[in-house]
Amino acid sequence: MSTDNGQELVQELFEGRITRRTFVLRAIALGFTTSSIGTLLAACGGGGDTPNGGTGPTATAPAQSGGVPTTAAATPGAAAVSPPAGYPPGYVGPRLSPKSPITPEKTTLRVVVPQNAEVGDWSKNVFTQWYEERTNVHVEWMVVPGEDALTKVNAMIASGDVPDVFMSINFLPAQQMLYGSQGLFVPLNDLLDQHGVEIKQLFTEYPDAKNLITATDGNIYSMPNLNDCYHCWAGAGRMWIYKPWLDELGMKMPETTDEFEAVLKAFKEKDPNGNKQLDEIPLTKAVESGFDTYFMGAFLYNPGEPWLVLANGKVDAVFNKPEWREGLRYMNRLYKQGLIAKESFTQTPEQLQRIGNKQGEPVLGATREWYWGSFLTIDQSKADARWKDYVTVPILKGPGGAQVSGWNYYGAVAPGAYVITKACKNPDVAVKWADGQYELEAICRSYAGVLGEDWRWAEKGELGINGKQALWKQIVTWPPKTGRWWAQLGVQYRSNDFRLSEAVDAAKPTFEKPLYEYTKQDYFPYREDQAMQLPPLYMDEDQAAQTGEIATTINNYVSEMLAKFTNGQVDVTNDGEWNKYVSTFDEMGLSTYLQIHQAAYDAKYKQ
């Protein structure tokens, strides 16, 4: 075994003269063991081949000892490969693992995918080609238009013209149950056991994921797409406030409902923008956003539409509780004093943006929106851009002491993303082909484009969004050009740590970092207990049809009454009106509705 030969070989690999497969075979021929290939690669500062023969940034990275050694627990015997700077301490998420072709002979899969302009032509896409070379699996793409995918998919199924795989069609639980029970979708339990590698690691690290993709009959009909986007889980409950006005008025960040009221009042009356006109809008929002997802937190746990929660294992609704009424009283009080703009219940996001972007002195004081982009234009290139002055208000503490921020524990896992049908002759290949997409390099390439051109591995000392050692870094501003990535389609394992391990460019900071920090500081600490959130349920066809109808009626009524109670069209202080409101739900079939949910919940979660 000669180290010189080894170095030469690695050089060849980086310059693109030989494929990864040839490299591994020749390295073994030279006497390297599988694990020392990993070391060799790590020593030369790269976990992957750089395209176009260039010596990409990875090849010139200083030699590292590999940082924290990877455990590669899920692949016993496989080579341990690390990214150049190693994994951040305590990292949980996808890892590099050397992949050999899935089959020696070229195998073909027929895969249905949604049309996407960013992906471009699926067959000519750069990631598609890279992944075909890596797996030796050729894909015959059948593209269905994204928006009406299900119309087309139903026509296919009805005519018996089914593909091997449906990818990113996102079948609902009820559809999985239906097609699964008809035998059209293949149960994957055993296949995953036998052929899954990365997905087993995913299941270990996200134990909920396996539970969430298992149907009530105990079968797994789909492989999940996992995107654990930390700030998303509190997105519906974020309140934004214009910080300079607080400073101008000498007020501190409000913490209770009363303090918040006082702040809004000062915004309205004391002309904080200093233009000698009372043109300030203390609080508003666009029609689709809810005030309830923020304010109700000061009275009880509110998950937002469809407003169902678990109380000691019992499914219950929040909109007919006395605490809900207290919340409505509070919102009505704000409205009566003119602190909530009338337009909040009617204006479109575009209209709100016009208020947020108003030229000259800002007029928008506070707003209940998902993120800055929902109420003004985010200019990431300017240091003093207006969006940076809007900060979050922590979830308020109510008079009764409640302070709960709705946190979505189950949002990360999208079931139904990858389904194998009975038409598939090589289900093992189909499983391995999806499984390989959960691997770190595959994720980065599918999400961020070409290694060495669009992104690279981070160097030692570059910090990620969470302030720890970063794992990878974008070279071009995301997203990559059309046709070089998969536009977040396919199946991926983007764990929270993975997302936060993206290096932050100090020269070009994006809004990801502040969004993460605000969420961590103002909402995460007040999140509800996980046992209170109603997890996604697998209903059968009858249950789904029955609840679907009632859900529409009830949800519309709740939304309508939220607005009416708030603006005083219906008097919330009047007991008669409140009782009428509560009893209307009984007429709408609330008890049946809850019972069906309870049955579906018990069938899956109460063993």
Binding site: N116, A117, W141, V143, V144, D161, C232, S289, Y371
Partner: protein, 298 residues
């Protein structure tokens, strides 16, 4: 000075003033959205969103158009759509004239029965899945022909074409031609067609716009992206980029889509409406005439 024209009365003048005023208002109502879209397509999207742009382009830029044509699928879709419009319309007009002419002849044996069969299909159809199965079985699925053959004839157009022939081509003309030794095809080609400019124009416009706006057949029958017409690509870009934060799990993605949508929205509309707008002036002078004549005695 001798008055050679009748002096308009006071009430006539008032009528004229009102007339012009009203027509001007209608004109502006119709024109403004068009001008707005055109100007917005040349403006900086931020200026459009913040409401600075209301009539003329603000901070003029071609970014929107550059972004539109940076999508390979748009260019491809454009070419495909042009093909579908040209090929489809040729087939349509050919079939419609043949059917319309035959049905306009009083001496056609079983004319009422044929007419009944045609009209029957406008009221009853097999539905989506059976049609899909037929298209699949005859091997048209996922080919360009799937957008042309199943829609080769529109019964409504056959009816107006038939009526047009009945009204404008007198039976005596046929008799005269027959005396001169003409057969049916010669008569159709040498006598009927030269007299039928308006109805051909109407058919071309109807069919061409139908093909240009067509997306449902493509949505159902095609899975090969290189065959997708423009409308399908446009739909994908605009509809998928409509932003619903609660459905979106990622703020970066949200911002990207929002930006993309703002950038592309207006230039896409302009690009997609251009061909029909260019076609219209050429057929417009026949359009009203053809429609009115054809609709008589429907």
């Amino acid at each position: 000075m001798a008055a050679t024209t009748i002096k308009p009365t006071r009430s006539d003048r008032i009528f004229d003033v009102w007339n012009y005023a009203l027509l001007t208002i209608f004109f502006i109502i119709v024109l403004y959205p068009l001008v707005y879209v055109a100007s917005a397509s040349f403006s900086n999207p931020d200026a459009v969103i913040s409401g600075q742009m209301w009539l003329l382009p603000v901070q003029p830029t071609l970014d929107g158009y550059r972004a539109v044509f940076s999508y390979e699928s748009i260019v491809q879709g454009y070419l495909n759509s042009v093909f579908y419009v040209v090929a489809g319309t040729v087939v349509n007009v050919f079939m419609t004239i043949l059917a319309g002419y035959a049905l306009s002849r009083r001496d056609l044996y079983g004319r009422n029965m044929f007419m009944f069969l045609f009209v029957f299909t406008t009221l009853f159809s097999g539905g989506l899945i059976p049609t899909y199965l037929v298209v699949d079985d005859v091997g048209l699925l996922n080919t360009r022909w799937a957008l042309i053959v199943p829609t080769a004839l529109a019964v409504y157009n056959v009816i107006i074409t038939r009526t047009f022939f009945q009204v404008t081509i007198p039976h005596e003309l046929l008799e005269a031609a027959q005396i001169d030794g003409s057969d049916d095809f010669t008569f159709l080609r040498r006598v009927v067609l030269p007299l039928s400019g308006p109805i051909i124009a109407v058919n071309v416009l109807f069919y061409a716009i139908g093909h240009w706006n067509q997306f449902f057949s493509a949505l159902i029958y095609l899975t090969n992206e290189s065959l997708f017409p423009l409308q399908l690509v446009l739909r994908e870009i605009l509809v998928q980029n409509s932003v619903d934060p609660s459905q979106m799990s990622d703020a970066t993605e949200l911002l990207r889509r929002q930006h993309l949508r703002d950038l592309l929205k207006y230039s896409l509309i302009v690009v997609a409406s251009l061909p029909p707008l260019m076609l219209y002036p050429f057929v417009q002078k026949y359009f009203v005439k053809g429609l009115i004549v054809g609709s008589l005695k429907g």
